[in-house]
C-alpha cells in the first residue's frame, strides 16, 4: 500500500506553478439499505484516486466510457460535489474543504460548460439573464454595463447580440451550446471544465463548437479540462490526455505520445475501436474487441480493475497486485497503470494476447 501511495506521488511531479492540481481525488456515493433506518452497506466508487496537474493555457483531455467517473470528477473539481477524499489545489490554494461562501471568489476563476444544451439552460429565463448570471452574482458592474457585456459575449461566441432577450427554446442545439460557452466566459475565468460539450450535437455543428473553443483558448489564454467519450474529438483539442477506467486513471500522456504509442491495453482497445472515416484505412486494420461489459463500480475487480476484460491478463499477477501509474517506457510524462504495457502500436490481436516478455518491460520501467 505504502509503495503504491509513493508511486502515485512520484507520478505527479509538481513544479509549483500549476493552475490546478488534483491529488488522489476520491468520490464515493454511499449505497444505503434499511427498513426504517438507512445504513450504508456499500459505496459506488465513482472516482477512486485520480491525480493530475494542469498548467495555465493547457488543455487536458479526459476520455473514458460512460460510467468511468469522468463527469463526477469534473463536478468534484468544480466543487459541485463534495469529494470524499483527496485534495484539490487551485493556484496553490487548497480548495478541497472550502465552504460555499469561501468558495465564491474561486467560482469566478473556474467555469463549466455542460453536456446537454437543452437541460443546461433554464427554459424560463432569457438568454441575457443566463449569460449575465455570474456577473450579477459577483456584482460586476451596473445593469447597463452588464447588458453591454452580455451583448459582447454573444458576439464573441458567434451569436447575434440582438438576441439577448430571447428564450433558449428559440435557438438550435448548436446555438444553445454557444450560449453555454458565453455564460462560462462571462467573468473571464482561468479554467473552463468542458463536460462532453459536443456529444449532444450534430457532426456539422460539433465542428463549429470545437473551432470556437480553440479560438477562445487562443484569444483569452484559457485552460481547459475537456471531457469526452469521443477519442477523435479529444485528440483534436487536447495537449495532454488522461484515460479513465472505472474511476481510475489508467494512462496519461501527451496527445501524440498517447495516440501513437498507447501503453495501456485499454487505451489500445479504445483506439482500435474508433471507426476511421476512410474505407481503405478502416478496413485494413483489425478492431481489438474487448469482451463483456464494464464491471460495476460498486464492486470493482481486484488489483488491476481492467483485468477481467484485458487481452493481456496474466493470472496471479494482474488480479493480485495493483499496478502503479508510472512511466512504462517512452517520454517521461507518459504513465500507464499496467504490468504488461504494449510494446508498440499498432499491435495485431495475436501480439496483443501474448502478454509480452513480462520481466523485461517491468525492469525497463
Amino acid at each position: 500500500m505504502a509503495m503504491q501511495e509513493e508511486m502515485r506521488q512520484t507520478a505527479l511531479e509538481l513544479t509549483g506553478d500549476e493552475l490546478l492540481v488534483a491529488q488522489d481525488l476520491k468520490k464515493y456515493f454511499p449505497v444505503t439499505r434499511g427498513i426504517v433506518f438507512q445504513k450504508e452497506v456499500a459505496s459506488v466508487k465513482a472516482v477512486d484516486g485520480v491525480s493530475f496537474a494542469l498548467h495555465e493555457g493547457e488543455t487536458l483531455g479526459v476520455v473514458g466510457e460512460s460510467g468511468c467517473g469522468k463527469s463526477t470528477m469534473a463536478r468534484c473539481i468544480m466543487k459541485l460535489l463534495e469529494p470524499t477524499g483527496g485534495k484539490i489545489t487551485f493556484r496553490g490554494q487548497d480548495i478541497t474543504k472550502l465552504s460555499r461562501a469561501e468558495m465564491r471568489p474561486f467560482r469566478r476563476e473556474m467555469m463549466m460548460i455542460f453536456q446537454d444544451p437543452y437541460a443546461s439552460l433554464n427554459p424560463r429565463k432569457r438568454v441575457g439573464f443566463i449569460v449575465a448570471e455570474a456577473l450579477q452574482v459577483h456584482k460586476l458592474g451596473t445593469d447597463a454595463e452588464i447588458k453591454r457585456r452580455v451583448q459582447e459575449l454573444l458576439e464573441v461566441v458567434g451569436l447575434n447580440p440582438e438576441h439577448y432577450n430571447r428564450f433558449p427554446h428559440e435557438f438550435s442545439g448548436g446555438q444553445r451550446q454557444r450560449i453555454g460557452v458565453a455564460r462560462a466566459l462571462a467573468v473571464n475565468p482561468k479554467l473552463i471544465v468542458c463536460d462532453e460539450p459536443v456529444s449532444a450535437l450534430d457532426v456539422s455543428v460539433q465542428a463549429q463548437i470545437l473551432n470556437l473553443l480553440k479560438d477562445l483558448q487562443r484569444d483569452f489564454n484559457l485552460t481547459y479540462i475537456f471531457i469526452a467519450h469521443d477519442l477523435n474529438v479529444v485528440r483534436h483539442i487536447s495537449d495532454r490526455v488522461m484515460v479513465m477506467y472505472l474511476g481510475q486513471v489508467v494512462e496519461t500522456a501527451d496527445r501524440n505520445s498517447l495516440y501513437q504509442e498507447p501503453k495501456h491495453p485499454y487505451t489500445g482497445a479504445l483506439l482500435s475501436a474508433v471507426p476511421v472515416p476512410d474505407p481503405t484505412v478502416g478496413r485494413g486494420r483489425k478492431r481489438i474487441v474487448l469482451e463483456g461489459d464494464v464491471p460495476s463500480p460498486m464492486n470493482p475487480p481486484s488489483a488491476c480493475r481492467f483485468h477481467p476484460r484485458c487481452p493481456r491478463f496474466v493470472e496471479g499477477r494482474c488480479d493480485v497486485e495493483e499496478p502503479a501509474l508510472i512511466n512504462r517506457g517512452g517520454p517521461a510524462s507518459h504513465t500507464a497503470k499496467c504490468h504488461f504495457p504494449l510494446e508498440r502500436w499498432p499491435l495485431t490481436e495475436a501480439e496483443m494476447r501474448t502478454a509480452g516478455t513480462a520481466g523485461t518491460t517491468e525492469t525497463a520501467a
Binding site: E65, V203, A207, N232, H236, N256, P277, R287, V289, L290
Partner: protein
C-alpha cells in the same frame, strides 16, 4: 433484380404546426448480401425512410408516396397482412435505443421465441432451442440460463445483442439497423459492429446501416447514401464517396470530423444549422449553408445526376465538375497532409 428498390419515396407528417416533409423523394436499392450505409444528421429523414419501408409510421399522421419494391412487390401498397408476413421474417429491424426497445415485462426468451413463432410453425421447445442458439451466436454467455431473465437484467450492449439475435432469428434477407451503436460506448460499438459483420457473412443477409457516423459507414458499407434535409445529396460506392466526394455537404461532413489519423488546426465547419423540415429552403436545400452557393442554387432544386466519368456515383449539386474535382482534391489533400504531419 435488386432485393429492395426504393423509388422516389416521400413521407410527410401532419403536425399541429404544419406538414413536416420528413422524406422527400429518396431512391436507392440494396442487393443481396450487400451493405448499404445511410448517413445524415439528426432530422435528415434517414430513420423515417426505413420506418416507411417497414410500414411502421403512425397511420394517423403519416402520408407516404413512391414505391419500395421488395423482391418486386411494393411494400407501400401491400396489404397489412402481407406486410406483417414480411416484417420480422424477411426484413428485420434493429433500433437505436436498446434500453427501451425490449418489453420490460416479458422474459428475453419469450420475446425471442415470439419473433420466431409469429412466422414459423414451430413448437415452443424448438423456438426456445433456436433462441439459445442465437443468443450464443451473438455472444451472450450462458444463453440457456439467460433466456429466463428480463431485459432490465441486461446491460445496454447486451440488450442490443439480444435485439440483434431477435432480428436474425428468422434468417431475414435484409436487416435494417437504425443507429444500432449510437447509444453505446465505443468498445461496445466495436463489439456490435464486429458482430453484425460476422453474422452478415454467416447468414448472408443484406444490411441497411443507418448512422450519423462516417467512420462506421466507411468501415462496413459497400454503398453509401448521404442524406441532407430529407433528400439524397449524394450516393455511390463507398470508395467513390470517400475518395472523390462530389457534394459540398459531404465535403463539410468529412472536413468537420476530427480524426485519429490526421492533424488539422481548424476543422472545416459547415455554417448555420440544419433546416426545419416544416419550411425547407427553396432550391437546393443546402444552399443557405453552402460556401459555394450560386444564384441558381436558391431557385432550382438540383436533380440527382450521375458524375460524368463515374456512372454509379450520383450527386445533387449545381456546381460544375471542374470546381468539384478541384475542391474535393483540395479537401482530401488537406487531410492527407495532416496525416503525414502527424
Amino acid at each position: 433484380m435488386a432485393l429492395l428498390e426504393v423509388n422516389d419515396l416521400k413521407t410527410y407528417f401532419r403536425t399541429d404546426d404544419g406538414v413536416v416533409r420528413a422524406v422527400d423523394g429518396v431512391s436507392f436499392s440494396v442487393d443481396k448480401g450487400q451493405t448499404l450505409g445511410i448517413v445524415g444528421e439528426s432530422g435528415s429523414g434517414k430513420s423515417v425512410t426505413c420506418l416507411t419501408i417497414m410500414g411502421l409510421n403512425s397511420k394517423r399522421s403519416a402520408i407516404s408516396s413512391g414505391s419500395a419494391l421488395w423482391k418486386g412487390e411494393d411494400l407501400l401498397t401491400a396489404n397489412p397482412r402481407r406486410l406483417r408476413e414480411i416484417r420480422g421474417s424477411e426484413i428485420a429491424m434493429i433500433f437505436q435505443d436498446p434500453m427501451t426497445s425490449l418489453n420490460p415485462v416479458h422474459k428475453i426468451g419469450d420475446q425471442l421465441s415470439e419473433a420466431m413463432r409469429l412466422h414459423e410453425d414451430v413448437s415452443r421447445k424448438q423456438a426456445r432451442a433456436r433462441a439459445v442458439e442465437l443468443l450464443k451466436a451473438v455472444g451472450i454467455p450462458r444463453p440457456d440460463r439467460r433466456l429466463d431473465d428480463y431485459p432490465h437484467q441486461f446491460s445496454g450492449g447486451m440488450r442490443q445483442r439480444v435485439m440483434i439475435a431477435m432480428s436474425l432469428i428468422n434468417n431475414p434477407d435484409l436487416l435494417i439497423a437504425d443507429e444500432p451503436t449510437t447509444a453505446l460506448d465505443v468498445t461496445t460499438q466495436a463489439q456490435i459492429l464486429t458482430l453484425i459483420e460476422r453474422l452478415q457473412e454467416e447468414f448472408g443477409s443484406a444490411v441497411i446501416m443507418i448512422t450519423h457516423d462516417l467512420g462506421v459507414v466507411a468501415e462496413i458499407a459497400d454503398d453509401v447514401v448521404v442524406m441532407y434535409a430529407a433528400e439524397v445529396a449524394e450516393k455511390g460506392h463507398v470508395e467513390q464517396i470517400f475518395k472523390k466526394p462530389h457534394h459540398p455537404y459531404t465535403w463539410g461532413l468529412m472536413g468537420s470530423l476530427p480524426r485519429l489519423d490526421a492533424d488539422v488546426e481548424r476543422l472545416v465547419q459547415i455554417q448555420g444549422q440544419p433546416p426545419s423540415m416544416l419550411r425547407p429552403p427553396t432550391g437546393c436545400r443546402f444552399h443557405p449553408r453552402c460556401p459555394y452557393v450560386m444564384p441558381i442554387c436558391k431557385e432550382v432544386d438540383p436533380e440527382l445526376t450521375a458524375v460524368s466519368d463515374d456512372p454509379g456515383h450520383l450527386q445533387a449539386c449545381h456546381l460544375d465538375e471542374e470546381t468539384k474535382d478541384r475542391e474535393a482534391a483540395k479537401l482530401l489533400a488537406g487531410m492527407m497532409s495532416g496525416q503525414t504531419a502527424s
